[in-house]
């Protein structure tokens, strides 16, 4: 979960603040729940974007790493497959920001 990432928490906190839900805008408990929900959704979107950027063979290899609990190899696997994770995460976060801030 992205809850463990200080940068992601800070990013989402800024989103919430921009939306006007910080500084007394909403109850603190609700704000924390909102932060948690947004981090979960952002995490899902990043995961999906990563898997969708892979071809069928690469998906099979990733599945194998997950099935054999070799999760520590995932980062190097993506790098070796030529996946631009940096650009991909930036894109997802940017789209996430746009969609969240523009949502009614």
């Amino acid at each position: 979960m992205l809850q463990d990432s200080p940068a992601a928490v800070q990013f989402v906190d800024k989103l919430i603040a921009t939306k006007g839900f910080a500084d007394g805008g909403v109850d603190e408990e609700i704000r924390l729940q909102l932060r948690d929900d947004l981090l979960t959704e952002l995490s899902d979107r990043i995961n999906r974007a990563i898997v969708e950027s892979l071809n069928p063979e690469q998906v099979t290899k990733l599945e194998h790493l997950l099935d054999t609990k070799k999760v520590d190899k995932i980062q190097s696997f993506l790098h070796n497959q030529g996946i631009n994770v940096q650009g991909l995460v930036a894109r997802v976060m940017s789209e996430f920001q746009a969609s969240y801030l523009e949502e009614a």
Binding site: S5, A7, R48, A49, I50
Partner: protein, 985 residues
């Protein structure tokens, strides 16, 4: 309903069993297949369709146009992922509520027999000989029987419980207590959900929330059996009958193969969800992305020039992201289009719209299931007897079998669709085709096993094959004959079936890559330009009017003037240029420690690094501490704002230092390697092999038949420098085929003898070439890409790809293909993954900041936001038949079934041959010359001219032509297939 009323009236008079496909001998086959694995993919597909409908709906006129543009921007671009997620969740809910996996599809497209056909296919797969043809590999891995006793004889309580509950349910049905099908299904749902909840069968049916079962058909069968037995004076209980039942379970795959990829994506996303995401991406990745996004917002500079430079830089990034997005969406659309076509939602003739047309060109060429079934039917005569009886029909049959099998296997393994189906008939046609294939293989097996050697020779089998067929009673003859074909060779056929399909797939992929590059380039331009324009507009129309401290240009035009504004919009700043900043002070440049970035500041100020990622500036008049840096050593938005507030103007200039060249050695599959290095491969076609008139053949699992120069390719070896040497040892007269001869020495001298390295069977048309010198040796330098394909084994060097061939270069054709002819071939390991070297050029941006300190209150220029949004149309909706096509009957034959008004009928009659029309005798013999002349003279002059022009395109007939055969085809349906329909191999 009473028990008697519930029984069919004819039941007592007949031994008719309503669903014979679920009974074999006296054993019933209960099938329960889980469908959960398919739900998410069907829901995603439904969401795609719903969004496409949304993007295509709208009224005409200017208002409608604007509305549509907004929808395409909002739904089709900015909020696309949000809406897709929302629609997917809704679709998933509808599927589970209805229990119908195709609930979200238009009813005309829905496969009404999906559940029944799926269970029929699984019941037929009970026969182990048919299973591999009827089920995909993935399905077969979940196939299992629920037993009330384990193989070791111990009790299996979960199996016994399920069987007992099914028995109770069937008894309730037979007794009439649960007579209604809906009620029956509700109760069976309850039983199966309980079974799934227990987790006892999860390895077979997964979560068990959605399934297809034949329990109702089984209950009807049990009832019929019981009544039949009673009519014969035998009393049997439901338990007696069900004791003779097998319960088959597994996870079924339904829908197009392309959808299988969606299933797997969903499954992998689900698995990723269960692990901490920081295993997938690291903190620095998130931090850099967040910093980049926020640094876009809230930027301000002292000058309009600086603001313009900033917006251009950010606009370029927005363009790149737009390109990424376009690539992803195009991939989705290709897969969506293929799924729809495969399901028979539309035909090729019904495809309309620019986007559809271009994506259709990249769809893998598929064959219709009815067409393939028809091919199989041709193997049988009217009485259903197998009619293969000579060499031609034998080869024809093997080719049909090989093609269908290749299409099934390639579709499944690559998750693409190479077979398409009729609307609403997919599951039925899939089952019938697979069953037809299995039956043809069984009949071929019997034919070969029963045939004597003379007949087998007439079938085209060589003595070695015949020997193998006749002397290996345990081997499957069909497998033996099909294996080389499956491996991408011709085998006993004259054509490489798998190779041809593979080639067609590669061609389509090439077209797709071309389309993708074009679309991505367009998206980058559009994303950049429109993103900046929208940003400027938003700044003027939204930010400035709503803000008391930002002065906008449009606001100013209409008399609005903010009191003491702290910021100006870019347009306002451009319209109202400031006095140039006094740059007469002297400056010095300081490196930002740890990076190549630099900061130029006035001499009376000092810049220091604070900790690892912050700066401070100190002077007599001003002091700014803790200016945070991004991980790449650039100023964060916080730092820029702090500097602006303190009275600094920040101008920046970017340049690039020497790029960092990074070489990654990765493990890659042959296809990817060939794609990654397409500039280093040569597209080839093999004209023939110099086989010395002794064809290669399989013997005891080995390829034999090589002699003379075919044996002249030595094992590679490596010298002290790491170079790989491939040496040949050939005689000048040791290569021939028929009349054609190749002298290796002459060829080598002329530079026409080379080594062709094929990484796999699937890429053997795109090879890596290495020249062979006059001494008959090819040297692959250490450190080259090709050297990577060789590995050091025990005392030798092995090629990890598939084929090493010594080839004669025969020339290059107009299509750019190099024609070659192999003199010798060595078969390598053919590994699935091979080391590849990818070179990454990492740009090395250097940012130089020029800080000027002016402690005044002049407003700063706000950098407008870049909004990387632009309207994007989805695929056009296709409404089959919506074009209101009217197919007129032939004027030669007005069917009694054709209904029309009298006026139209008279018109059609006027086009009918007078001989037919006036004689009232449909059997009249017509003179074709008279009819053709009459027909021709009755056409309009324009039409006659058009036909004459078309005929002229064929050119003059070659004097050597002895016969012309006209092959009638349905031109209105076959326009896109005609080439393949009449293509003679």
């Amino acid at each position: 309903m009473s028990r008697e009323a519930h029984r069919p009236a004819h039941a007592a008079e007949t031994d008719h069993i309503p669903h014979e496909e679920f009974i074999e001998g006296d054993r019933l086959k209960i099938v329960i297949t889980g469908l959960d694995e398919n739900v998410r993919a069907h829901a995603v597909e439904a969401a795609d369709k719903q969004l496409a409908e949304k993007l295509n709906e709208g009224d005409g006129g200017f208002k409608g146009f604007v509305k549509k543009m907004w929808k395409q921007t909002w739904h089709g671009n900015i909020m696309r992922d949000h809406y897709l997620n929302k629609y997917t969740r809704q679709a998933e809910r509808r599927i589970y509520e209805s229990g119908n996996i195709e609930e979200n599809l238009n009813t005309s497209v829905q496969d009404s027999d999906l559940a029944l056909e799926t269970t029929k296919r699984w019941a037929q797969a009970f026969d182990e000989n048919l299973r591999q043809d009827l089920l995909s590999e993935e399905e077969a891995s979940t196939y299992g029987l629920v037993l009330d006793r384990n193989p070791d004889g111990s009790a299996n309580p979960e199996g016994a419980k399920l069987k007992s509950e099914i028995q109770d349910l069937v008894e309730e049905f037979v007794s009439g207590n649960i007579a209604d099908e809906d009620a029956f299904n509700e109760q069976s749902k309850r039983i199966l959900n309980d079974a799934a909840q227990s987790g006892a069968h999860s390895d077979m049916i997964g979560r068990g929330q959605l399934y297809a079962s034949n329990l109702f058909q089984i209950a009807q069968n049990v009832q019929a059996i019981q009544m039949r037995e009673q009519s014969l004076g035998r009393d049997v209980s439901v338990k007696d009958i069900l004791d003779n039942a097998d319960i088959i379970m597994g996870s079924a795959k339904v829908g197009p193969e392309t959808q299988a990829h969606l299933n797997r994506v969903e499954r992998t996303v689900e698995k990723l969800r269960k692990i901490p995401i920081l295993n997938t991406i690291n903190e620095a990745t998130v931090a850099t992305a967040a910093s980049a996004i926020y640094s876009i917002a809230g930027w301000a500079t002292k000058t309009a020039v600086g603001a313009t430079a900033a917006v251009v830089a950010v606009g370029a990034t927005a363009g790149v992201w737009a390109g990424f997005r376009e690539a992803r969406r195009l991939k989705d659309e290709r897969s969506q289009h293929s799924r729809e076509f495969t399901r028979g939602e539309f035909t090729e003739d019904e495809i309309a719209g620019r986007r559809r047309d271009s994506i259709e060109a990249t769809r893998y060429e598929s064959k219709s299931a009815p067409e393939l079934m028809e091919q199989l039917r041709l193997l049988y005569n009217e009485d259903g007897e197998f009619r293969v009886n000579d060499g031609d029909s034998f080869k024809e049959a093997m080719q049909m079998i090989a093609e269908i099998e290749a299409r099934n296997n390639l579709s499944s393994s690559r998750e693409i669709d190479l077979i398409h189906y009729s609307k609403g008939q997919m599951s039925r046609e899939k089952r019938l085709l697979r069953m037809g294939l299995a039956k043809a293989k069984v009949d071929m097996r019997h034919l070969i096993e029963d045939a004597d050697p003379a007949t087998l020779t007439a079938f085209g089998l060589n003595p070695h094959d015949i020997d193998r067929v006749k002397t290996d009673p345990n081997g499957d003859v069909i497998t033996f004959l099909l294996d080389p074909i499956r491996d991408g060779n011709e085998g006993i056929l004259d054509v490489n079936v798998v190779g041809e399909i593979d080639e067609s797939i590669n061609e389509k992929d090439k077209l797709y890559r071309r389309l993708r590059n074009k679309r991505v380039a367009g998206a980058v331009v559009k994303g950049t330009a429109l993103g900046m324009a929208l940003g400027l507009t938003a700044q003027e129309l939204i930010i400035a009017p709503l803000s008391d401290n930002t002065q906008g240009a449009i606001e100013s035009t209409f008399g609005g003037q903010d009191v003491d504004p702290a910021r100006e919009t870019l347009l306002y700043a451009l319209e109202n240029p400031e006095q140039p900043v006094d740059m007469s002070a002297s400056y010095h440049t300081v490196d930002i420690p740890g990076t190549e970035n630099k900061v130029t500041i006035p001499d009376n100020l000092q810049l220091e690094k604070v900790g690892d990622n912050a700066l401070s500036i100190n002077g007599e008049d001003v002091s700014v501490s803790d200016l945070p840096l991004n991980p790449d050593g650039t100023l964060t938005s916080e730092a820029r704002n702090a500097l602006a507030q303190a009275g600094f103007t920040v101008n920046e200039h970017g340049s690039f230092g020497p790029p960092e060249i990074i070489q990654h050695e990765i493990q890659s599959d042959p296809n990817s390697i060939v794609q990654n290095h397409s500039d280093q491969t040569v597209e080839v076609t093999r004209d023939h092999w110099y086989q010395n008139d002794t064809p290669m053949r399989w013997e005891n699992g080995k390829l034999v038949g090589a002699d003379h120069n075919e044996l002249g390719l030595w094992n590679p070896w490596r010298d002290g420098n790491g170079d790989v040497h491939i040496r040949t040892n050939m005689t000048e007269s040791g290569s021939w085929t028929g009349e054609e001869r190749a002298n290796w020495a002459e060829l080598a001298r002329d530079g026409k003898l080379q080594i062709a390295l094929s990484l796999s069977k699937g890429t053997q048309h795109e090879v890596f070439m290495i020249p062979i010198n006059a001494q008959g040796e090819a040297v692959i330098p250490a450190g080259s890409l090709e050297e990577n394909f060789f590995t050091d084994g025990q005392g030798r060097v092995d090629f990890m790809g598939k084929y090493t061939e010594v080839v004669e270069i025969r020339g290059v054709d107009e299509a750019g293909k190099t024609h070659i002819a192999p003199l010798a071939t060595d078969i390598g390991k053919g590994l699935n993954t091979i080391p590849d070297v990818i070179t990454e050029t990492k740009p090395n941006p250097i940012i130089e900041y020029a800080l000027d300190y002016q402690p005044n209150k002049d407003p700063v220029v706000a950098v407008p936001p870049v909004l990387p949004w632009y309207p994007r149309k989805g695929l056009e909706l296709i409404s089959p038949g919506s074009e209101n096509i009217t197919i007129e009957p032939s004027p030669y034959y007005l069917s009694q079934y054709y209904e029309t008004d009298p006026q139209n009928r008279a018109r059609l009659l006027s086009r009918m041959s007078p001989r037919l029309r006036d004689n009232d005798n449909p059997d009249i013999e017509l003179d074709e010359r008279e009819e053709v002349e009459w027909y021709w003279n009755n056409q309009t002059p324009e039409h006659r001219q058009r036909v004459t022009d078309l005929a002229a395109q064929a050119g003059a007939m070659d004097p050597g032509v002895e016969a012309v055969i006209a092959i009638p085809v349905a031109g209105h349906q076959e326009s896109k297939n005609i080439y393949h329909s009449i293509y003679l191999r």
